[in-house]
Amino acid sequence: MTGALAYIALVSIKNRVLMAVRKLKSARYLISALFGLAYFAMMFGRNIGRNSKKFSLVLGFDTIGMDIAAGIMFLILLAVWAWPVDDAGVELSESEMQFLFSAPVSRRGILFYKFMRAQLPILISAVMTTVMMGQWRNALGMWFVFASLSLYMTMVQQMRARLRRMHIGFIVRLTVVVSIITAVSWVSIHAGTFKNPLLEALTFIPRFFAMAALPNVPLLWRLLSFVVVSVLGALCFLVSASVDIDFEEGSMAISRRKANTITRQRSQQSGQWMAFKRLPPPFRLAATGAPDVAIIWKNLIASLRIGMMPIVILFAVMTFLVVFSFFVPEAANKVFGLWMLFMCAIIPLLGANLFSQDLRLDMTRIEYLKTFPLSGERIVVAEMAAPMIVMSIVELIFLGITSLYLHFRMPPGGIARFITPQSIVCVFIFAVPICAILTVMRNAAVLLFPAWTLRSKEEPRGLVVTGQRLVVVVGNAIVLAVTLVPAAIVFLPAVLIANRFFSGSPGFLAVASLPPLAIIAGEVWLGVRMLGKYFDSFDASNELDRIMT
């Protein structure tokens, strides 16, 4: 039976690696992996030499660094006893529970399977940790330590469950752990040094963990530490397998908790979780007229029921600023005014993230959307309209409140000079297209890379995911910069011309703002057209497995 479990564990590791490699055939995944690699190389590569020297100096055999590492290890080994969760068993997936619990597999077999399954992530963690420290030659030792620690954690988990059966709960365990730490600290402080017999005795075992993982340890000691750490791991394994507890029931409880967390995350992603479930629709939907309005209506309902919380928070902050400003000295009004202006400025930037009741919310139902009798372009526009409307309304209200506040509460001169109705209108008409550009970008990311944005918690992570995030963040920044540059270039001459010919007249605003606005609007239109075309040709079948998981 052990052979079969080892086979399953190894085959699943092999398949995961193969799947990851196979995915690299797709240009999108390859680019992301390269981005991820470049990121890690940039972040850690340049520090490897520096870190290596730094760690070599402080972490050597018989150095204070080694003592500290052993002390930290002791604290970790002790602290896990105070962890509140006291269910027995191990975390398994639904299918693992279904197959393993109904099969003639002993607890030892399940623990062995779980241990084998964990080796790939443990190895990756060990390599990453040692690379970050600039000590990649210690990856093997770090692997030994992490693997043994995982067995220790499993054992402590079973022991916590056993203690619960003996009516020794979390509070008692916490009290004991805190008492031990306090007593050790007290003894050390009184002795005036951490080099005291008690502490050395307590860190005797943890020191082997430190020696296995850290640099500058003589070969003989290192080999000995490998042996000790492995023996300890094996002992923990044997204890875990023989503790008298409800292993299966506990495993199911742990696994159920994990499944619930995933379900909750998915329901938040799909819109099942609503802060204001019973809010009525914003308007009555007429039977006739443009069908696109139905999608806007639907998403406005979603905005009210799902996205209302950020609006409430933003308004609460704004109200607080306005009300509180009446209770502070007049000199502080300027600070409040600036805070309000700051809030107006961040709404276009934050709004596109806060109000995501558009394609991002409906991506899991893209098959259904594709059956709608509307062109891709109209679906994309209608999907994005609701967050745009919400953002615009919030921005307009905030700008109104801020301008009134600055007009009445700010001392004349300074920033108040610029707060004219014209400038407020100008800010507003620029804020809306910027919101639109950001919304188009966010929706484009979802449509172009659905597997990235709708990643489930169970999917493997790593370089590719890091690369994907970087591609999205860097891509957003580049696209935003590129789209705003032409408008900014046009804005300057437009202001000069307006100033020369329409200074002091209402025409000034129109002449100064219309050319850059036209450029931004044109870019939004182009973006929407491209997205619409992409939506029409979007083949959900190629992305289906990732979208539907």
């Binding site: 139905a294 029409d536 079948s541």
Partner: protein
Amino acid sequence: MHPIEVISLAKNYGDFPAVKDLSFTVKEGEILGLVGPNGAGKTTTLRALAGIHPPTSGQIRIKGYDIREDGVDAKRHLAFFPDEPRLFDYLSVDEHMQFIGRLYGVPDFRANIEPLLTEFDLLDKRKAMPAELSRGMKQKLMIACGFLHQPAVLIFDEPLTGLDPLGIRRMKESIARRAKEGASIILSSHLLHLVEELCDSVLVIQNGSSIAYGTIDDLKWQIAQGRGDVTLEEAFLRITSEEAAAK
């Protein structure tokens, strides 16, 4: 011109051909049963017909409109009912119906909502959210939404999954009634007695290709070689196993 015309349809997933050179038509008032073993390409065919998956090659015409070239016009005339209902979690039952009514431009859709909800036993769930509905109820809501704009073409993928016995009976009556009223219907199901009971013709596909196509009586006659005493299930098993043996 038939309401549904499929000519040499092919659909590949990467290098894998899921559907190969499939051709068939469905007349007004006809119910075509699409049957085949698991992985035969039934759902892929139906999704291509509904305009969800773009075909790799071939032509699909719904009421004369090419699903690729005139997708919007084609979709106005059809309703697709997937095996797994995917509703909007933030809309109530009633709001789903209103949404669909406006989307398909159904004049005075509010008057039609109540009879449909009554037909599918959902009237008392009008205000309920999808999370408060059972799987069967979600399926019924999806079907009620699809019926609201009285489409000329109805495409069902396993329509009876998750329904209770009364729901099954009502669903069968609803499908039969819509066909009598002139709708062209494609129904994919593994329940061969349902296909035998409801359908006029049947298309058997295996490994993405058509292996038998005709009226149910013709098919049974062909299999029984003149005896005429086989069920559709026997005919299906004989055809698919012969095809597998030939391969």
